[in-house]
Symmetry: C2
Subunit: 227 residues, 2 copies
DNA sequence: TCATCCAATATCGTATACAATCATGTGTCC
DNA sequence: GGACACATGATTGTATACGATATTGGATGA
């Protein structure tokens, strides 16, 4: 594992774990033992705890008292709420981004899309998912809204967990086309269209999930066995 | 100081500090020494650190490496961003709340407003400010959106810091009237009007602040002395 | 054979100790 | 007299030790 910066090691570890979660290398429900994580990164439990608390606050891990940290398993309700929050934040932010975007930003988004395509071709779906999320975060950054960008970063990461749990395999590759269209609207400073496209994109994302109750994640064993 | 629950003491301490910040009992820039806070609450630095990290993640305190924790001093830019984020989240949430509100909720909001009036009459402006913030949080709760409610909680607390720094004393008491009007719209399930009122309310809040650069908070001594 | 109780184990929760770092103040040299 | 270097103090950063708690496994009894 990449050794974290000697400074801010807790933050580096949190980022590393978040990245792994985002790329689906860590599945929802995975246990993150303090000792184990500490050994992997070569630090004591003290700093691991700081990292885990950080992630807990971002809702990426769940801290169970006296039981340890686990990669979060968002409920269906939480999944819906995450996308509803995104639906409030992202469309208007995309509009702002369209009004402020600079040539360098367009280049960057374009390379994001290409990297995502490459990742998909190489079969690294996790990395593609991560890049796809970063596309959204980047738009908030272009809109010059750090506070909103931070929230979107969180929501995107949580969306990755939601996708891990509730994705239905049919309805797949609309994604990249949506990003292409968004980029075109942004590049032409068409704020109105960017806003609409983002709204539709998020809606289509949500409808590609199976958020019916019956497929609830087996949070309790009783429920898992259909008792 | 109220002794925190033996369980989750870090969270209790964080909540206590957040409350104090929200009520302007702790001014922006105040130093929060780990030893001092630990002594006040009767716990070791370990748990104090956890609480401070939590607050740091909420942007209520700023952690300066090897220097300690300080109550945050939002920049003008951050102040704007906080209200822009609220402008995206709250109006639509108010509309949802209007559609779902129950009689008990109306009662609760009414009592919030009354408590706020009482606090103002008793001269405890800090408490009034806190209650005024809780009014907004309560609306998100009524809308049945935990995720958004959490964000609004954070943003409201940060708004309190912004108010402490940038409030201009003229333009004061429009507040309670705005809440009254909002409650009427909510109580009559007039979602459209609730959304509009919330949008205007936030706008008027922001314009009652002095967010011009020249009044920047003296983050550096040089700036404070007008050098 | 089954349920109940209890001990053993593993993990987390907290306190404390020590190391690292930065700020301040002092002394010396130019 | 001024600037630099260094020692000192205070505060945070990290590691470790110990205590608390919940689960697991086995033993005992009916």
């Amino acid at each position: 594992m990449a050794l974290p910066d000697k400074d801010n090691s807790a933050e580096a570890i949190a980022a590393s774990l978040a990245h792994a979660i985002h790329e689906h290398r860590l599945a929802p429900g995975s246990k993150l033992s303090e000792d184990e994580v500490g050994e992997i990164f070569g630090v004591s439990r003290t700093v691991v705890r700081a990292a885990l608390q950080r992630l807990s606050h971002s809702r990426l891990v769940e801290l169970k008292r006296n039981h340890g940290a686990f990669v979060a398993q968002p409920s269906i309700r939480e999944a819906r709420e995450v996308f509803e929050a995104r639906a409030l934040l992202e469309p208007r932010t995309a509009r702002s981004a369209a009004e402020r975007i600079m040539p360098a930003d367009i280049q960057l988004l374009q390379s994001h899309i290409e990297a995502e395509h490459d990742a998909l071709k190489n079969g690294s779906a996790g990395r593609a998912l991560y890049l796809s999320g970063q596309f959204h975060v980047e738009i908030a950054r272009i809109a010059d809204q750090d506070t909103i960008a931070e929230y979107i970063t969180q929501l995107v990461a949580r969306s990755s967990l939601v996708i891990a749990l509730y994705w239905q395999r049919r309805a797949a590759l609309c994604e990249s086309h949506a990003h292409d269209a968004l980029l075109r609207a942004l590049a032409t400073h068409d704020g109105q269209r960017a806003e609409e496209l983002m709204k539709e994109h998020l809606l289509s994302l949500m409808t590609s999930l199976d958020l019916r109750d019956r497929n609830a994640v087996p949070t309790s064993l009783r429920e898992a066995l259909g008792a």
